[in-house]
Assembly symmetry: C2
């Protein structure tokens, strides 16, 4: 697809403290973002709605001129910012005045010190859950979409779009509504009614495609390359390099909430693998900026056994990831051919981490374990990370004496089916005290 | 029921900056709470798990020795507190060190400046949504339960309980799990599976009662008066005076988030009416403490037409509230005989507000209006407040030139059924560009 020229409308007034460099068109202000660079060959491109290297077809990611100066000054500036991801605007591809624009303002979710869970798992260090179910539409997708919205604004797009079967549809619908974009989301025509409602309630266009999710994606690729799709920002396609950067904010928040310290170990779910790579990128940036001490940390990837191409490759010692056909209740992680799989393998190996998987039964048990110990009702993806944490501790891979952070990226209300069959009343009784006494529930 | 003696265990170490007065047993430290006082006759009682006046059977509420001194000092102390309701510990019936105890830490939810909605409603002043769907279990109930938990701790209860058909069950289950209490929640045996899952997933006892919600409540009243129920804290019965105080935090947060200013107008949903009365109590406390300027504000109550005993009484000019049999999709507000109805009438009239209602169709339209304009997917109760706001503006009762705050107390994910029938795809097409072109969706 062609690089679309940047508009001169909205963005001229947005010149902030962190100016763009000469490599970006003059009218695009995305704060400290200076260019796109190819993850494979390093070739640089001006900021624009492109996602693949014109030289080698490698994935593009955002390069920055990050702010220099006194780290304590930067910490102070961050602390004085809003209670959402825009507190990190100096480190994100957004204009400096981003917090004044209409956004659903995700982020700064709770980092819960999980002492009850730690006790059950035999953790003697400190265990924390980064609980992204607290985002506006209750998943981490709000973070990445919020960044994509600002890129769409800068590039003059008027319609936000995506293909989705779940969390992303709601995140795009909500973000577009608030930010004043038209939205058009594509879903397989036979989704469950609950998911259709979540995707449609924000009032954007919702198009059911007669086919499965692969058909939806193929159709979207065609649309991006066609004049019909002109002016459309597909958050996870032509805006993907910006979108992905939203996951860096998880790293920033975790470190700030730990008192500007790196965790020793962090357990991240793997779908495409993008989130894990961006968390690593975020941690590296904090070290480079002097916001945290430069010390080792280990990143662990978590998959469902029913869709475990990365953990399979990790265990086999492979550098390439062989695609799988997903069959798991963890639908938000069910990407059989994860684009960032090889990068995940690199990071897990470089940091001394690992990639592990748990089966559906273990996922359900882990959802219930987290709910019972900490009062957090996680999506299946949270069951995957908590289940993998438990497994890695039992295997002696994860060190229970250290500081560990486990991500919960979504909300159990969205995956009720996963636990419905095995979650019900302790007893059903007549409304009288004798029946209650007989049931043996007085405690 | 008898006043239970307070234990000497947990609470002795909790002596903080704001000591209890002589009227409370020495071992109960509930911070600035000094006594319970009867809302009808003013009789005072020591702090304990009681809820009705021994003299006149009137409802009891918490009386305080509030902190004196420089308001700016108190603001600073609050600002330095945690990002949850415990920042207001000096104004709540909790020990000063409450933030160190295990809690799901609700509150400090977003106050969203709703400019898009304001435009649609013709508001020329400023319109804000206080969005309590951001709480840990996604409703305002987390606030009231969190306070009840601390009272239960102080009184030595080991089991937390309630009867519920919805939000409260999840809030109690989650709070108990995290705080280390056993929980036992009573529900009608024939609830929808989704609601049963939300109530059961936190691992406490869940008892289905063969009967309707009235039967469940009758059974719980029996249990509280029986030795079988000893050591049980029913959050909204014998802990009700403390529980209710949690709603004051909505008033505190709204004013702090407005820059320590009172809103001119505030629209609050009415179930039992307790929330509205406690918001008024909270605003009055802020005025008394000098944290906000003493100026008039108006409180508006919002009901569903299918359960509108208070708005009916308001419009008829009555002082008493005649019970109704509820028939509305706004199930979280469906209390036909609201205990605090007369107090709500007083407050609405005293402040120059009103009580209004909207029908189910208007509720659904308002849910969609809020989602479409601000990206907030509200529970039916939020549809009631937004719908009533619209109606009151159109009727010239609510002044569109002023600062107005509208409460959304819950999350649309919990009441998907309300919008499911009327929310769906714009179009369903074959996966090809011709079909897309024909559907006329390119924009």
């Amino acid at each position: 697809m062609a690089v679309q020229t940047a508009p001169t409308g909205d963005t001229n007034s947005a010149a902030g403290a962190t100016a763009t460099t000469g490599s970006a068109p003059a009218s695009v202000d995305l704060g400290p973002a200076s260019a796109l660079s190819c993850r494979e060959c390093g070739q640089r491109f001006p900021l624009g709605p492109i996602f693949a290297c014109a030289e080698c077809f490698g994935p593009l990611e955002v390069a920055y001129d990050l702010p220099g100066g006194d780290p304590e000054e930067l910490k102070k500036r961050i602390a004085e910012g809003p209670d959402n991801i825009w507190r990190y605007a100096p480190l994100l591809p957004v204009p400096a005045d981003v917090a004044t624009k209409p956004s659903i303002n995700p982020g700064f979710t709770k980092l819960v010190k999980a002492d009850n869970l730690a006790r059950e798992l035999g953790v003697t260090g400190s265990l924390h859950i980064k609980d992204d179910s607290g985002n506006p539409t209750h998943s981490f997708k709000d973070r990445v979409v919020a960044i994509a919205v600002e890129a769409a604004r800068a590039f003059g797009f008027t319609t936000l779009s995506c293909s989705s079967t779940g969390n992303l549809a709601g995140a795009v619908g909500a973000a577009a509504a608030r930010a004043g974009f038209r939205s058009c989301v594509f879903i397989p025509h036979d989704l469950e009614q609950g998911k259709v409602v979540m995707a449609a309630v924000y009032g954007g266009e919702l198009v059911g495609i007669e086919g499965n999710y692969d058909d939806v994606n193929r159709f979207c690729s065609e649309l991006i390359g066609d004049p019909l799709g002109e002016g459309w920002g597909f958050v996870n396609v032509n805006l993907r390099p910006y979108y992905g950067e939203g996951s860096k904010t998880l790293a920033y928040e975790i470190c700030e909430q730990l008192g500007w310290r790196l965790p020793d170990q962090i357990v991240v779910p793997i779908a495409s693998g993008s989130q894990l790579t961006k968390i690593d990128k975020g941690l590296q940036e904090l070290i480079k900026l002097g916001l945290v001490e430069d010390k080792p940390y280990k990143i662990f990837g978590a998959q469902a056994k029913g869709c475990s191409p990365v953990s399979t490759a990790f265990k086999a010692g492979h550098d390439v990831v062989r695609p799988q056909k997903p069959d798991t209740i963890a639908k938000s992680l069910a990407i059989g051919n994860p684009a960032d799989g090889p990068y995940v393998l690199d990071i897990a190996r470089r940091t001394g981490g690992a990639v592990e998987d748990v089966d559906d039964e273990q996922i359900v048990a882990a959802i219930k374990l987290l709910a019972r110990t900490e009062g957090i009702f996680a999506e299946t993806a949270g069951g995957v990370t908590v289940g993998v944490t438990k497994k890695l501790i039992e295997a002696g891979v994860l060190d229970p004496a250290l500081t560990t952070v486990v991500l919960n990226t979504g909300d159990g209300l969205k995956t009720l089916d996963a636990v419905a069959e095995t979650t019900g009343p302790t007893a059903t009784i007549r409304p009288d005290l004798d029946a209650f006494r007989t049931a043996g529930l007085a405690g």
